[in-house]
């Protein structure tokens, strides 16, 4: 097992080191059983996940519901304790066990939640929501500073005139405005890493792009490292420089977004892309619509997950070895990697993985 070497290979491809890194994260949720003598069961939500976030870069994490992408975000935000594995912040292992360490950690890493309708407290106004993080992290000393900072936060998320929004309650705001307030709340602590868990999936289609553009602008202006969790692979391409694909708790493929989406390697990524609605072919001459899927079915139960590669039951290219063990990460060159025996088995060489490393 020379996974460490592979990880180093994956992480040295950007000039600046990663600000937040997950190394071999695993998370299991125990399942309560009524039978005290029965075997202890657990949901294997995330298996051996490694990723790195770089300042000024957005990384998209794509997968179906139940693939463990939200669990990864919550592990990184310190809301769950990993079963095993480490989270490195600026190269140092982050201690996320006690309150004061968590407090410092969250000064740098903030989470934006999916549902702006339930993530804001309905009995408090915008001023309260934005003043709390400012006070908790000591960014303000007096009332004047507080108001000034809140107004500037609201302006940064394009809620203008800010003076009007400051007194509003969540029910007086539209979905897009609420999500802007949650983004402003996350920015209030002046973080370096933003974890956005499906930030636009609850919003109306016509305003989704506005929120994505806002996050992109903030990323560039403030040099934030962004993790963008989504089930929509087209918006991953629009939003993020890098895309990671997860299936049933396992990372299966990653690399530059355009590469991953234009030339998917892993059979699951290929399936995901062929299933996504794509009106592009209407401009072509043929009038054909739905294409046949290479594989059917759904994500397996994660309480008793399939052995080996969890996709092998649905995979059109499955081989006997696929059900025996999970393939190692194969570097394909240009920052691309995949965990699939079709392209080699990590350390064990294969002619496909001999691309030029950078």
């Amino acid at each position: 097992m020379n996974k460490l070497a592979q990880l180093e290979g994956a992480n040295t491809r950007h000039d600046a080191g990663p600000i937040l890194e997950a190394v071999h994260l695993r998370k299991m949720f125990p399942v309560r059983s009524l039978n005290p003598l029965g075997t202890k069961q657990a949901v294997h939500a995330v298996e051996d996940t490694s990723l790195a976030l770089h300042p000024g870069r957005a990384t998209a994490l794509v997968g179906e519901s139940g693939s463990g992408k939200t669990t990864v975000a919550r592990l990184l935000a310190g809301l769950y304790t990993p079963t095993s594995g480490t989270i490195l912040f600026r190269g140092e292992p982050a201690k996320l066990t006690d309150g004061s360490h968590l407090h410092t950690y969250r000064r740098h890493v903030q989470l934006i939640l999916q549902d702006p309708f339930s993530s804001l407290n309905p009995v408090h106004n915008v001023h309260y929501h934005l003043a709390r993080p400012l006070h908790i992290y000591g960014h303000v000393r007096n009332k004047a500073q507080e108001t000034e900072q809140i107004l500037s936060l609201l302006n940064r998320v394009n809620l203008s005139p800010a003076e009007q929004f400051i007194q509003k309650f969540p029910h007086q705001l539209s979905g897009g405005q609420r999500q802007r307030v949650s983004i402003a709340r996350a920015l209030a602590v002046q973080p370096e890493v933003l974890l956005a868990d499906e930030p636009v999936s609850m919003l109306d289609v016509s305003i989704r792009l506005d929120i994505l553009n806002l996050l992109l602008r903030l990323k560039d202006e403030e040099h934030l490292a962004l993790l963008f969790i989504t089930h929509d692979i087209a918006s991953a391409r629009y939003f993020a420089e890098d895309t990671l694909v997860m299936y049933a708790g396992q990372m299966v493929e990653g690399g530059p977004s355009d590469e991953v989406i234009q030339r998917p390697m892993h059979p699951y990524t290929q399936l995901l892309i062929s299933a996504a609605p794509d009106p592009g072919h209407l401009s072509a001459d043929n009038n054909a619509s739905a294409t046949d899927l290479p594989a059917r079915g759904e994500i397996p139960s994660l309480i008793r997950p399939p052995s080996g590669c969890r996709f092998h039951q649905r995979c059109p290219h499955a081989m006997p070895v696929c059900s025996q063990r999970f393939p190692g990460r194969t570097e394909l060159g240009g920052g691309r990697w995949t965990n699939c025996f079709l392209y080699g088995d990590g350390g064990i060489s294969s002619n496909l993985s001999s691309g030029v490393p950078n």
Binding site: D204, V205, D210, I233, A234, I273, A275, A276, A290
Partner: protein, 385 residues
């Protein structure tokens, strides 16, 4: 298949009576649905698309009120043709009480809004079935899937015996790609995609002429969504029903629907074939909606959504309801309400409600690239801010 009008909606109006003002959810909506057609209704939440669907099925409850219009349903004669030429499935279900049924359903069109509850009961499910958004809430959690299908048959086909009911239930499950041994499964034992398939099977139990699908795949993952859509297309080929497909996801409709109607603030603002709509949307809102979906191919370019947010229907803006968000709005848009009409007197299938294409208000109608330019200007504007 003979093309003939199956359903015709004329000037339909639906209001929600609320204490703080009446919400005009559907305003003067007219469209027709051909036999075998898949009509897509697209719009943002609050545009009135679901209300319209429920009005057609007469499922609206107070405070919703249908305040005007007609919904003409034209059963026609093709039912017999369909039963002889098409699938044995249909015949099997209808044989028991065919006479009974045929005499009631008249040859002429009828206005669904004038029917009594008893008459509606004959129409619903038999002629007009609906598939709801959330399959988990639409299925009864304490009844097996099989029992729920047979329940429909027992009520609507009293002549069928228990054996033939069971036979039909198995056929229906096979039709939508569920193994027959799932007949005795409870909804919680099925995955999301299977539940949605079961719902479709139940909707098809009596071989309806019209299937109304209200966001049937929104809660599902893309792979499962694709399977369900393929299934709907296949069943439509096989059974020849018409579909009204409601969704906010225009990119889905572009693959599935024959014709697409775009709704905004309770009105249809554009109606066209999917190809016309994709290649040259006329209404600025349609253009904006089409360009709200990042594409998987081509160069990555900065895109803009539609500025602003959907209007409050209690106090919709005067004139064209879209004008506060429209990058091409001019003075007339703020005062005069545009009517849905075909472009510049051309005998085209593409209808649009926009003053930009009315020679009385605007001599030079914009091209699709003009719309693109105006929206692109917005992107730059917002990035400077």
């Amino acid at each position: 298949m003979v093309t003939s009008t199956l359903l015709e909606v004329k000037d339909l109006n639906v209001d929600y009576l609320a204490s703080n003002g009446t919400v005009h959810a559907v305003i003067d909506v007219s469209f027709s649905l051909q036999r075998g057609e898949i009509l897509g209704l697209a719009g943002e939440s609050g545009s009135g698309k679901s209300t319209l669907a429920y009005a057609i099925t007469r499922l609206l409850r107070p405070p919703a009120m249908i305040t005007g219009g007609e919904i003409l349903y034209n059963p026609g004669t093709s039912r017999d043709e369909k039963e002889t030429s098409n699938v044995t499935l249909t015949r099997l279900s209808k044989r028991g009480n065919q006479e009974h049924k045929k005499n009631e359903v008249e040859e002429q069109s009828m206005d669904l809004l004038q029917l009594s509850q008893a008459q509606l009961r004959d129409i619903r499910w038999d002629e007009l079935a609906i598939v709801f958004q959330s399959a988990m809430n639409a299925l009864n959690p304490v009844m097996t899937v099989g029992a729920q299908i047979m329940d429909v048959l027992r009520t609507h086909r009293p002549h069928m015996g228990p054996d033939s009911r069971k036979q039909r239930a198995i056929e229906l499950l096979q039709l939508v790609g569920i193994a027959p041994d799932r007949l005795r499964s409870y909804p919680h034992e099925l995955s999301g995609g299977m539940r949605q398939r079961a719902i479709i099977a139940i909707a098809l139990a009596l071989s309806p002429e019209i299937l109304i699908m209200d966001e049937p795949t929104t809660a599902l993952d893309v792979v499962v969504q694709r399977e369900i859509l393929t299934e709907i297309m296949r069943l439509r080929e096989k059974l020849g029903f018409s579909v009204i497909f409601i969704t906010h996801d225009l990119s889905l409709l572009l693959e599935l629907a024959d014709n697409i109607a775009i709704m905004y603030a309770g009105r249809i603002v554009e109606k066209a074939s999917r190809r016309d709509l994709y290649l040259h949307p006329y209404h600025p809102y349609s253009y904006g909606l089409l360009n709200s979906f990042p594409s998987m191919h081509g160069p990555r370019r900065k895109m803009s959504g539609i500025p602003g947010s959907p209007p409050d229907l209690r106090a919709a803006p005067p004139g064209c309801a879209f004008h506060p968000r429209c990058p091409l709005a001019f003075d007339t848009c703020r005062t005069v309400l545009p009517a849905l009409r075909s472009l510049r007197g051309e005998d085209s299938e593409q209808l649009v409600a926009c003053h930009l294409y009315d020679p009385r208000f605007n001599a030079e109608p914009p091209s699709t690239s003009d719309l693109a330019r105006k929206y692109e200007a917005l992107v730059e504007g917002s990035s400077v801010q």
